[in-house]
Symmetry: C2
Subunit: 229 residues, 2 copies
């Protein structure tokens, strides 16, 4: 049973995209991937199909797969969807979060601060995304959790494509404000903070920006990110 291999490939590529090591448009040749992961082409094929379903990979018949290149309209749609979904998640968290949950959130904030203090940009990006995933999990709604994860992933791609260098990261004090509102069990404030936060991220995107040239796969997959859920 080589099912494990497939999910490993999927996770690995998702990480690489989230960390912005695999820029939009990168060709994902089947041979290259099966070489890299030392496995059969069939497994690579399934992994790519899964990633295509997540819409982070585009698949053109007879031309293979490549990292998706969201359009500006896609980007707007994604962020509107995030506002709809993550605000509901936020409401759920306010209602259901235990003290332990809030402690976990605060610990996560501390990590974010630390990563930024160390100028560890990749870690900062990962933790920033992780914050949203963490909230999604605490919302205790499997459907919304999955959609939110999908969308944070696609957001990474979008930010990598259109983001200006100045404002590509979530301001961690915005995250903190959200946690504060949750801890205070102030539903309205939490929703407002989340909505504002997502709008700020979106504002940091330059939709007129020219797309950077698509890099080759090379060994961009090499440096693996540490944690995963």
């Amino acid at each position: 049973m080589e099912r494990a291999k497939e999910t490993q490939i999927v996770e690995h590529i998702l990480d690489a995209i989230a960390d912005q090591r695999l820029p939009a448009g990168t060709r994902l040749g089947e041979q290259a991937l099966s070489d890299h992961f030392a496995c059969n082409r069939t497994q690579v094929r399934r992994a790519l199909a899964t990633l295509t379903a997540y819409q982070v990979v585009e698949h053109v018949p007879n031309r293979g797969a490549s990292v998706a290149t969201p359009t500006a309209q896609d980007a707007r749609d994604v962020f509107q969807a995030r506002r709809a979904i993550e605000s509901t998640i936020c409401r759920n968290v306010v209602r259901h979060a235990t003290e332990a949950d809030i402690a976990v959130l605060r610990a996560h904030l501390a990590q974010e601060v630390q990563a930024k203090g160390h100028r560890d940009r990749p870690a900062a990006i990962r933790l920033s995304r992780g914050f949203h995933d963490l909230l999604a999990r605490m919302g205790r709604n499997a459907v919304l959790e999955r959609y939110a994860q999908d969308l944070t992933m696609r957001s990474s791609l979008i930010i990598g494509l259109y983001g200006t260098q100045a404002r590509t990261l979530c301001a961690e004090d915005e995250h903190e404000r959200i946690v504060d509102a949750i801890a205070a069990r102030n539903e309205a404030r939490a929703l407002r903070e989340m909505d504002q936060h997502l709008r700020h991220i979106e504002q940091g995107i330059d939709f007129d920006g020219t797309r950077p040239p698509t890099g080759a796969l090379s060994s961009l997959l090499g440096t693996q990110s540490t944690e995963r859920r």
Copy 2:
């Protein structure tokens, strides 16, 4: 190129599930399907993988695929997600709908009334779902549209599983009220009507109901539904 075949299988099964001809839990044997669709097992396999990604099919390793059996918690999650997503869609429709769009909606309502007048239950179910899909399309947000379609599909499954015979259909006058609010460009009212409507549907579900026995695949796929987008 047999890619068309795969989507054909997917659509066909989705229709059968939406029409509640394929009840939750039905085994979807690969052989049986490839016989039925007169095609290779490989294509059936891909189709099933796609359906699994949509979460309307469950796939257990070495035991094959079957129509998903959502739990009561799944059902609650799905409906909460629908409220979050479809209310945002509703807002978009109010803002962007042209007069032609509204005419299309009214025409759809007329069809719904007619189907119910004729006691054509399968058509009524299909049209009821179609109304929500139509709105999703008019929201002009590809992300939300896809999620909404996903969820209406899963709702069909849930209603088929837990729904009481009395309240399994959307009351068409609720649909009408939504359209009226949209036509009046009254955003707040449209949102309220949609939210209420979805809550009503959810209330028509008996979460303590015992699950009906899982029927065999047989030729449940036989009678094909007419339209598809």
